[in-house]
Amino acid sequence: MHPILAKPGRLALYQLGWGPFSALLTLLLGYAGHLSWGESAALAVPLCHVYAFLCLSSWYVCRVTPLRTTTVPRLLFTHLAAAPIPGGLYVLLAKFIARLVSIPPERLAPDLPLLYGAGVLLYLLSVAFHYVLLAMEASREAERREAEARVLAGDAELRALKAQINPHFLYNSLNSISALTSLDPARARHMCILLSDFLRSTLGMGERQSISLSEELDLVRRYLEIEKIRFGARLAVEEQVAADCGEQAVPPLLLQPLVENAVVHGIANVVENGVLRLSAARTASGGTAITIENSFDPDAPRARRNGFGQSIVRKRLATRYGSRATLHAAAQGEVYRAEIILPPEEAQPA
């Protein structure tokens, strides 16, 4: 169904839009001098408003010759070939209305060319108007589809999020707790609390689109606190976070797979004095560069160094930011370095 006919309000607005045209036609006919001003108005006003309905039909023509897929010559041909028909109808309609308002045909005759021209012109205007209408409809449809895609991407992200806490981290932590229960019950309790704090905050974050970098780093710190109990002196954590990037928006748990990689594929393979360094700083363009560096054993087999955490992070960055965010990871000597660059975006308060 025609979108204007779908709602009475729209039809009223459409008819209102034709008001200026009926006024213009009244003026034209009046100045032409063949009809009195009263006759001009009595002819022009009903003529335009009835013709308005007729012009609605151009919507169907526009729909079968969409701008995007129709060549310009064909477009011109279709509408210019069609225009004389409504033009003719306009003249017939004018004659009919003239009879109704008792204007003799011979007095109308000199105005007929003018009326025919107006009919054609008005029809072409309505064609243009309908193309605008179709474009608006298409853009609304595209927006709806985009929103739908966003929801889908969000779902996928949530599923990825759930996969981000490595279950082996849990098993190993629980094994540490199991050891501590008899060795040092107080530390066992402390570790239970660290672990549940960490888990609780990760679960809460799944529902949020983005969090602040400072929240994300808190989470990373909790995770590392637990890993420090497991790895003891083998894991030292250093931090160099610029104060002005705490409010940078970050997809929740974005850093987790990278930090976990740094521990599992880096620290876990070094015999002693492993260092994990977290840094964050504003970039020249106002975004934030987040770096995770860790010691690793260059002699360890490659398979033991590469997790697929990186690919999860890449995918999430691509879904969220397209090409505006990057992840670069490479080894330099005995240090493995992963750097994320995020575009400027402030976190919304929770």
Binding site: N172, A179, I229
Partner: protein, 128 residues
């Protein structure tokens, strides 16, 4: 009573402590060495020739399977790991048992019984 000698290999201090504690309840078992990485493990097994080896899989330098390849047959191996994905491989190298972290004392006892009684357990080694 024949003393059974055991070597514990795990890169985590707490994981070693747990095994040490559980083994401590068996006076017939003597802990010959504790190792924190694959190199140390190979060295300790060569020097001490233990009856029983508690072996982690993911460790610095050499992983548990690489350790086994280097030491060859002659010791009963019990894998102790958080990863269940290595169970089939462990079976291939004739491990006596496979303990998944965290494990209960009962589960530990069952594994120890299988590998340690009188040093008569099945011997692990490379499948030839």
């Amino acid at each position: 009573m024949t003393r059974i000698s055991a070597v514990i290999v795990d890169d985590e201090e707490l994981a070693r402590a747990l095994l040490r504690e559980m083994l401590g309840r068996h006076p017939e078992i003597e802990i010959a060495a504790e190792c924190a990485n694959g190199f140390e493990a190979v060295k300790a097994v060569a020097e001490r020739k233990p009856d029983l080896l508690f072996l982690d899989v993911q460790m610095p330098k050499l992983d548990g399977f690489e350790v086994l390849e280097l030491i060859g047959a002659g010791v009963a191996v019990i894998f102790v790991t958080a990863y269940d994905t290595y169970a089939m491989r462990a079976f291939d190298v004739h491990a006596v048992d496979y303990l998944l972290k965290p494990f209960s004392e009962e589960r530990f006892e069952a594994a120890r019984g299988g590998g340690g009684e009188g040093g008569e357990g099945r011997r692990a080694g490379k499948d030839t």
